[in-house]
């Protein structure tokens, strides 16, 4: 789950980097950012701030 979150957070800024280098259109950039934003806010509360229980 953490991996999904971190991938989504990279995906939040990566489209704008690609847009800066003319590798992506602005509409695609906005669309991808929205998807990664939703993914971040769905996945991250499931693990962030939770206590990690020691393995028994």
């Amino acid at each position: 789950m953490q991996a999904i979150s971190w991938l989504s957070i990279v995906g939040t800024v990566l489209p704008s980097v690609l847009y800066l280098f003319n590798m992506l259109s602005l509409d695609a950039c906005k669309g991808i950012m929205l998807c990664t934003t939703i993914t971040w806010f769905v996945a991250t509360p499931l693990w962030m701030g939770r206590e990690v229980k020691p393995a028994t």
């Binding site: 957070i9 939040t12 704008s16 980097v17 847009y19 800066l20 602005l26 929205l34 934003t37 962030m48």
Partner: protein, 569 residues
């Protein structure tokens, strides 16, 4: 009110949440005793906290307001580099050394020095300022919500609500924020922790998208760093006149603003409460993460959004005709070229002056004036750059800043009426913040408000500094309220009020001088222009420091004559 909550009140404006700092920085213990070694924390604990805290709703207004103030590229970039460095050094050399030696909360230290009654006044001042700040953040969030419903947004120089739609939007947004702050403060705080890294990257995305848009609209090819600098100077931060109604910002304005915008936390000593947990005072260098992520990157990125809006805004035919017909500067300009050029502050100012002259001459009716200052609407800026993600960022940024601010203000007010329930006080505080949010003046004048906030709290920071390091060298007693069992240290109180009085006179000098002169009292020199609010806190701090020593010398002697003998230092 618990001591942790009192410390939260004496926390900083605009930050994501001081109570969480306590939870994330070792819990809510040691409010009335020094933090023991076992509870002290390493460097990493502070880096993330500061990085997230300073990328918030305020950045969405401050960055664009720099552009409205007519900053040039050099003024902005180098001014922010220097000003933020000065802020970090203030934390490192003023705040952290006391914090890591005394290891006490600001609230407790102030109580020892100033007495409980004076600290209550301090909390009240803090609470009122928090309310207005929360109101500005409700305004920010409302611009994003209102955009979705095509609500007419207030203008840059609007002081009052401008439409029923705006009033309804602010009331709904403010009510939601207030209710959630009253019911579920902790949940929103946890949500703020989740949103924080995402928000930092969305701000970065704002800047990257704006950069591409500038490159496309100016047909610029980047082959070297000088091409970037050329674009920055000629298209993004062009300098020149500010928009009408704004103060011109120079290099020194930017530097001092970046230095003093968190004055309450460093020079004002609020972050004693944070750094009391640091193992070493050098860990205060972690504040650099906040300054250079939030007050450098985020401000620059947000400013680029407004610069882009200005760049893409062109004079309407009415404005072109007005300038061609009445302005010597534009009389020979090609109308087609003028209509395609970006609308500059100089053009707007010139056109407004022409309209005013036409009104004075009776050629135009005042209600028929059509030239206006471009609106600064964070929701609009963010949506144009990053779509719905940008809108979500604006809502969350404003909300997660307003939430702890309303909570802190509520704690401050509850200290004055302790028998009232926390829930009710937080709700009423949220209501007050919502009312403040109706008036766009605070958000649109956020640069002035932040400077005012720092000025109000700065004298007490000087009192803490002097009391800790210097007062005993003058043969005087430190922590005098605790020593003498006074609830109001008159020396500290007078230092605060007199410093504020002097600073206010300096800031409003021209108005005071002209008002007196009109009434026949030519008492003040007319060639002195006063000191702008962005700069007055620096001399103010020194004035407060000297005044506190002098007043303490008189006050402590007077008290000792009338009562108990002094304890040895």
């Amino acid at each position: 009110m618990t001591e942790d909550e009192k410390s939260a009140v004496a926390g900083a404006p605009g930050s994501a949440a001081a109570p969480e700092h306590h939870e994330s920085l070792g819990g809510d213990e040691f409010e009335r005793e020094p933090v023991p070694r076992r509870a002290q924390l390493g460097f990493k604990s502070f880096v993330g906290m500061y990085a997230g805290e300073h990328c918030a709703g305020t950045e969405l207004m401050i960055g664009p307001l720099f552009v409205a103030a007519g900053v040039s590229a050099f003024d902005l970039i180098v001014g922010l580099l220097l000003g933020n460095l000065l802020a970090v050094l203030s934390w490192m050399f003023l705040t952290a050394p006391i914090a890591t030696r005394a290891r006490l909360t600001l609230y407790y230290q102030l109580e020892q020095i100033c007495g409980r009654s004076l600290v209550t006044l301090y909390n009240l001042a803090n609470g009122v300022m928090f309310c207005f700040l929360a109101g500005a953040m409700i305004t920010v969030s409302a611009t994003a919500v209102g955009l979705m419903f095509h609500v007419e947004m207030p203008g840059l120089n609007d002081l009052y609500p401008n439409s029923v739609g705006w009033i309804v939007t602010v009331l709904v947004v403010g009510a939601l924020i207030a209710v959630v702050a009253a019911f579920g403060y902790q949940s929103v705080s946890k949500f703020a922790n989740i949103a924080s890294p995402w928000m930092v990257l969305v701000f970065l995305a704002f800047g990257l998208v704006a950069a591409r848009e500038f490159l496309d609209s100016t047909d610029t090819q980047i082959k070297s760093v000088s091409d970037i600098w050329q674009l920055a100077n000629t298209s993004i931060w062009k300098g020149g006149e500010p928009l009408p109604g704004q103060t011109k910002f120079t290099f020194w304005h930017v530097t001092f603003f970046a230095w003093f915008c968190n004055m309450a936390m460093h020079i004002g000593m609020s972050d004693l409460t944070v750094f009391r947990f640091a193992r070493k005072s050098q860990y205060a260098v972690a504040t650099g993460a906040g300054m250079y992520v939030g007050h450098f990157m985020a401000w620059i990125a947000a400013s680029m959004l407004f610069a882009l809006q200005m760049h893409n805004d062109h004079p309407e035919q009415y404005m072109v005709d007005l300038l061609k017909e009445h302005s010597a500067q534009y009389a020979t300009a090609d109308p087609a070229e003028l209509a395609q050029a970006p609308k500059t502050a100089e053009m707007i100012r010139e056109a407004m002056e022409i309209e005013n002259q036409l009104v004075d001459n009776g050629v135009l009716k005042a209600e028929d004036k059509r030239i206006s200052v471009p609106a600064l609407v964070p929701g609009d800026l963010a949506y144009n750059a990053c779509g719905i993600t940008g809108l979500i960022c604006v809502v969350i940024a404003g909300w997660t800043t307003a939430n702890p601010t309303i909570y802190r203000a509520g704690l401050a007010f509850q200290a004055i009426i302790p028998r009232t329930s926390r829930f009710l006080v937080t709700l009423l505080t949220g209501a007050l913040a919502t009312l403040a949010g109706l008036f766009p003046a605070i958000a649109m004048k956020l640069l002035d408000f932040v400077a005012l906030y720092g000025m109000v709290l700065m004298p007490m920071g000087a009192v803490v500094f002097v009391d800790y390091w210097l007062i005993r060298k003058f043969g005087l007693q430190s922590n005098y309220a605790a020593f003498s069992r006074k609830t109001f240290n008159l020396a500290a109180g007078l230092t605060w009020f007199l410093t504020l009085g002097v600073c206010t006179v300096l800031v409003k000098y021209t108005w005071i001088q002209e008002s007196l002169a009109k009434r026949g009292f030519d008492l003040l020199p007319a060639d002195f222009q006063g000191v702008q609010i962005y700069f007055v806190s620096l001399p103010g701090w020194f004035f407060a420091a000297v005044l506190y020593v002098l007043l303490s010398a008189v006050y402590q002697r007077k008290v000792h004559k009338g009562g108990a003998a002094p304890a040895t230092a």
